[in-house]
Symmetry: C2
Subunit: 374 residues, 2 copies
Amino acid sequence: MEDLALVVADAPVVAAGVFTQNVVRAASVDYDAALTPADNMRVVVTNSGNANACTGQRGVDDTRQMAALAAATCGADPDQALVMSTGIIGEFLPMDKVAAGISAAAGQLATDEAALVAAARGIMTTDTIHKLSEDRIAGSQGDVQIVGMAKGSGMIGPNMATMLAIVLTDAALTPSAAQQVLRQVVDSTFNCVSVDGHTSTNDTVLLLASGAAEKSPASGELLDRFRAGCLRVCTDLARQVAADGEGATHLITVRVSGCATRDDAHRIAAAVANSPLVKTAVAGADPNWGRVVSAAGYAGVAFDPSRFDLYMNDVLIYKRGAPVAIDAASLSADLAARHETVIDLRMNEGQAAIEFWTSDLTAEYVRINADYHT
Amino acid sequence: MEDLALVVADAPVVAAGVFTQNVVRAASVDYDAALTPADNMRVVVTNSGNANACTGQRGVDDTRQMAALAAATCGADPDQALVMSTGIIGEFLPMDKVAAGISAAAGQLATDEAALVAAARGIMTTDTIHKLSEDRIAGSQGDVQIVGMAKGSGMIGPNMATMLAIVLTDAALTPSAAQQVLRQVVDSTFNCVSVDGHTSTNDTVLLLASGAAEKSPASGELLDRFRAGCLRVCTDLARQVAADGEGATHLITVRVSGCATRDDAHRIAAAVANSPLVKTAVAGADPNWGRVVSAAGYAGVAFDPSRFDLYMNDVLIYKRGAPVAIDAASLSADLAARHETVIDLRMNEGQAAIEFWTSDLTAEYVRINADYHT
């Protein structure tokens, strides 16, 4: 299996980054955060199998060394390379293997679809499938491309951590516009996906913009179109990550609307999405609205429990604080038949809304994460 | 199986209550919260199998009726009875069955150990064992007794919710002292226990103090002794609840010390205790410190990751931000052999500390909660 990916730009590109909110951060996260946003990046090197987290000064040195090796493949300076790592926490990087991997990857650089798939496969850990998405928007001199790749399957396999993603585009962006767009897009996509609620030490999303398709940096309406395209790509990738959650049999989309604030909507959606009882109910195709309603109730948001409505797969099941008589057997059959379960909470208290994605919880998740020894 | 418990005091007693923080509250919770603290209670009636939550006005009426029926068994007024319910959410109480159960229980009232066990069994849902604890302190006129019973097994079985507990004592307390002691004790005990992080709609802890052992309300040193005894009883019950978590094979005690504030310690302990990855690691007897360290890191507490130490079952495994070389196979064997796993995080930043209890996560938990249809 591939365990290293190298993305090289022919000329310096604009780069932005958004990183884990965990206090315990991998060496690569600190390294990238210090270098972004920037307008002179050439390389992103990613290894899987080892997170290089909790590894002290040696881990910091190893990340720098990894960047230097990657930069050297295209004659760039070490600070023109970004690094992502994912895998086991607390072990040192096998630098001889990393160096050999970088050399090998440098010899296989290509611009075709196969190379993209190989890179997307190179960043996988417990993922069962590589994750790619692309979009195209109208630029000022023709089409602008946006291509994203991601890894993540649960947050964590057997001690393997992390959601990583890279978005590549030939749009022209200033570093500050790139950073702002990425921050906004991540807030609505990768920050709205959870498999087990366990935030990793290594989460990293990078945006690289070459400007090859445009003469001047996007602004105004073109920037809005770019943001929308980037949102579509990252939404697609976030859904792919949730769908490929460890042991998952259902993708769960939690929609929360009608809140006073977006933060309220996010809290309620996250509480529902992270409840093991909601997730096991979906695994069992059980339209168990009591679990959804009670999870919403402990989200830390003050709301009127007699005001809100709940739909599952478009069936109204709870209305204004009271259960609705439904054909539970038929809804259960529908939940079992579809790969995606939609839980739709309408709070009827305001205008703010959010979508959040997670996976169901099965015995297979427990098997993957318990039947393993460090 | 018993599904109703009646606790009757010979004369009016002092009563205090602490309730769920869920916004969605069962009718019994609203009812009890309005009546406590008080100095004239006679009865507590508890049913299991039906939570009477999300049941609207009819649920409110049913709770009142249940209180009236229970009060009538000893010639008390309806507002001298407290009610606890646990079980399925969103279904109406079968009032004919409840009435028959109250009559039957009233005919079996007794003061012996067997009656206490029967009451503790009467409040069980998916619990595999009844939970009782007792303690004795020196009062001013001889011993003072403190007896507690609880139910809870996971927070929730197949749609069954809730942690319920009653603490009975012959200590003399004012209503305000009873309320204050109960609040303090619950904060360090039942508010530090989690099986699946899913706060129920019905959580209720009641303290009834008859004063039979004392001439005047406890204060000063005697009140401190009472608080300590009550803490021992509730700690024991909280540990029993975690140990009987659905599908659990290990009780997990998470100790967090050396924090700047108790709230920081509580957040870190709860993040570790609620991580499915930590819980599956313990199920697999895997000393996977990376999962513990990364869970602490996303608790929302700012701390220096290079300062803290981690012990598992008294083995130092992570020191000042770096792993310690240990015999992992021997520690794993120890984790497998003991029923209790102790995770001990020493943050070295302050004086605040906490203990938190949870259970491990097994495939059996998923089976109990997924293989069920509403």
